[in-house]
């Protein structure tokens, strides 16, 4: 074995030196299937994405223990796009052209996904995208295993309205595409439910905002008008810790003004003392505290793999778990890793998720998931207080936005369209895809 390894590293070195002289042939003869992992390991997004790289390595290792795929071993190819959006596209091109990976698992921010879309389209690759996002997109080469707005935001608002009796809303978010689109959908949804415009306050803050004094005071004042108030937070990553610290210090309790967050999971809470935050909410499709056998096994494998039993699991990790298993199953069904065959085979594939049910890949390349609402506990975990009775199908084109409500996506033949307009009967409504 060491000999083989040496030969391979020699070959690799030769590739670098000789460049174009070496073609992909030398790799084609090896019996591994390459899987690309496109997550930032340095820069601002490393905080969230490094964990996803680790979980992919774990899943690939587990699959190899089970005998690999189509009789071949899987081989992970890890690249670091360094939280730099144009670099995502370059690295994606490397993975597909040079490394000839069969599928890529990666991206976190919407802007990084948008930056790699043309590459995957051009080179006909497969991308599994594991993070909740704003919707308004469906691409032939991309599989969205995170939540669409109707799988996270809308059920959360329903919960607040029905169970907590909320009548006044603060939509607070970081100033970029995901919060803006989500808030637009939520605003339309709330108004359709009869909430008056003056009972909705929308607030945006820059990335990494750290001085929340004014905004938290504003929220408190907005909430003292005698109507039950809640905050719907699409505040991103880094800015959350100072936001929650300020909430705690100004004494805003969850019983008075609950905050429901869409970007705060177990991983983000790891940096905060959660004692004063008990009762604030988050909406996800998975929590580490989900009480199922599959989840217990997943957590155990994760702790053994990472060598630290304090590390938490979170929703995007589950999304990769589901996405990876779907891909494996689709490849087995198609008998090949050829992208076109896999794209056809994967629709309708069902795999177990970690919350005790099955998730299915739908023709719009989104998956079915349960929606869970959890309350923050003093140990940094969530306690599930509500869940949807069944699975929710990801809705790529929101029904609440006027210019996308007539659009649907269906990648099965003969329609094969990501933005079919049911009103005009034509493919190619809104959007570039």
């Amino acid at each position: 074995m060491p000999r083989v390894a040496r030969v391979r590293s020699l070959l690799m070195g030769a590739t670098v030196l000789a460049g174009a002289l070496m073609s992909g042939e030398s790799f084609a003869q090896e019996d591994t299937i390459k899987v690309g992992i496109l997550h930032s390991l340095s820069g601002t997004m490393a905080i969230s994405e490094t964990t996803l790289k680790d979980v992919m390595l774990m899943l690939i290792e587990e699959q190899n223990k089970k005998g690999g795929l189509l009789g071949k071993k899987l081989e992970a190819v890890v690249v670091d796009p360094a939280s730099d959006w144009p670099l995502f596209a370059e690295k994606a091109r490397d993975l597909l052209e040079k490394e000839k990976v069969a599928a890529v698992f990666g991206c976190w921010t919407s802007v990084s996904r948008k930056s790699v879309l043309p590459v995957f389209e051009e080179l006909n690759g497969l991308l599994f995208y594991p993070v909740q996002y704003e919707g308004e997109e469906s691409q032939r080469n991309v599989f969205y295993t995170g939540a669409a707005p109707n799988q996270q935001a809308i059920p959360a608002v329903d919960y607040l309205m029905d169970v907590e009796g909320v009548e006044r809303w603060v939509l607070a978010g970081t100033d970029y595409v995901y919060p803006q689109t989500t808030n637009k959908i939520l605003q339309a949804y709330l108004e359709s439910k009869g909430v008056a415009p003056e009972d909705i306050m929308i607030n945006y803050t820059p990335f990494g905002h750290s001085d929340w004094q004014t905004i938290v005071t504003d929220i408190k004042n907005f909430g003292s008008a005698g109507k039950k108030t809640a905050v719907v937070s699409t505040i991103n990553g880094d800015a959350n810790v100072p936001f929650y610290k300020e909430l705690a210090n100004q004494g805003i309790k969850a019983e008075d003004i609950p905050v429901v967050a869409f970007s705060v999971g177990e991983e983000e809470l790891a940096g905060i003392d959660t004692e004063p935050l008990v009762g604030h909410l988050a909406a996800w499709n998975y929590f580490q505290s989900v009480d199922t056998e599959a989840n217990a096994e997943f957590i155990e494998t994760w702790h053994a793999f990472i060598g630290d039993d304090k590390r938490v699991t979170n929703d995007p990790m589950e999304a990769h778990y589901i996405g990876f298993n779907m891909w494996v199953k689709a490849v087995e069904k198609a008998g090949t890793t050829d992208p076109d065959a896999v794209i056809d085979a994967i629709i309708g594939v069902s795999v177990p998720n970690l919350s005790g049910g099955y998730s299915t890949m739908m023709p719009n390349h989104h998956i079915t998931k349960p929606v869970l609402i959890g309350e923050i506990q003093s140990d940094g975990q969530f306690e599930i207080v509500w869940e949807t009775p069944g699975l929710v199908v990801g809705d790529e084109w929101s029904d609440y936005l006027p210019d996308s409500k007539d659009l649907i996506a269906d990648w099965r033949a003969p329609l094969s369209c990501g933005n079919f307009n049911v009103a005009t009967g034509k493919c190619g409504g809104k959007g570039i895809n």
């Binding site: 001085d211 004094q213 008008a225 880094d238 100072p242 004494g251 991983e267 940096g271």
Partner: protein, 538 residues
Amino acid sequence: MMLLRALCLLLLSSLLLIGPAGAQETSVNALIARFAEVNRFDQTEALVRELGATGDPAVRPVLEALADGNLQASKAGGAVYIVRGSGKNAQFFDPLTSEEVKDVATSGLRKVKVNNALRRAIRDTLSSLTLRAPNREQRLAAASNMLSNPDAAAIEALDAAIAEEGDPAVRTRMEQARAAAVLQSDLPDGEKIKAIEVLGALGDRTVLSLLEAVEMRSQGELQSTAAKAASSVRTKLAAWDAAQNVWFGISLGSVLLLAAIGLAITFGVMGVINMAHGEMVMLGAYTTFVVQGAVQSLLPGLQNWSLVLAVPIAFVVAGAVGIAIERGIIRFLYGRPLETLLATWGVSLVLQQAVRTIFGPTNREVANPSWMSGSFEVGQMMITWNRLWIVLFALAVFALLLFIINRTPWGLYMRAVTQNRRMAASMGIRTPRVDAFTFGLGSGVAGIAGVALSQIGNVSPNLGQNYIIDSFMVVVFGGVGNLWGTLLGAFSLGIANKFLEPYAGAVLGKIIVLVLIILFIQKRPRGLFALKGRAVES
């Protein structure tokens, strides 16, 4: 007919009164035991209300434990315990007698789940139970809760409590709560006008919304009184809002000052464009994290004071790294600002990735000591303890630096070297050592800033990047080479930012501040306090 009805009513009410009184002990027990049977939140809530309706103060510990998530019930049903501690250290107590119960099989227990709605119900129930509790704080909390959630049905209970209340502060709060409840009731207008007078004196936002509600749905004298009271509350609140903004500005300014003051030395005094300045702040924050962990395991009694201990250690760590950078890299690049910029930027990336490799990419938790948590009120203004301490800390660091630079021999050497290096050297000052010391001092102060900033933000490898731009902004705006300029620059930027934010929003506010700085620099290229004299020309 009337007589008959009155008689019936009397009979009924006496029945109701006598009925539960006889069987109270047993019924409370039976009610508590039912926590083992409930599965849904609405069932638990109904049970809480039933417990509250017994009016028995003995149910208080049970409800408190339930609200805190410390109530566990056996899955088989029947037994309910209050739990303290977790895992192997868990202790179990009888919910009514508070006696410890030994040998409880933990595997057969489940937590009685609570959610926000339930916590609210518990809080309301508790406040009706604790309105006449022997503990002053509990009574005050109960009255405050009734004030913010006024309910006409509580008037009688409040009247009874007011009659026997001895503490003037609690009594006032109860009277205010009663007034708020009166406004919700259908008592005659005269009563309500009196209530408005009581509340008008209090004048906070809850009161304002109550008054506005009264104004909306009443007529005549009541309406005009309510309108007058509401407008006077509004005027008062506007003044408080302005004061609050000033405070927020000072507090933001103190954060800027802390972040920038180290840079004011390395960049301002030495003229080194140090892009790794933010990473010194980050090292300070990580030192705080390490010190906190060490204190936790070695001296658990001093946990609340680990932050104080972290200050000198962070200074030494960041200062040592600073000296190493100066001796290793920067001294070869004096007089070549562009190369210094690139080299220190490279150093900052190396430090970031090193921390990411050692501590991991995720946030680290630095706990807030109890003396830095929570807040207190000054009139209608809320001041949080952590911000107050940071303001004081920033000023103390500033004063200390000023002292070092102006009153110590080292400070004298520093000033001499920066004003005229060759002259200083010919006077016998060892300029390389002074350079190293100055850079170490600037870095060390940045490390100290990291200790303070760990209290309000993330402790992550990216921490430094969030502050580097702001730091340069403050130093350039304040005037390079002048500590007083940095002070004034930090506070004026902070206050300007906070006054713009309510009108322009956080995103636009920041942009406006940047544009204003650009315009200002056009007019005064050397900042607020420009150095004058020969030092400038060289």
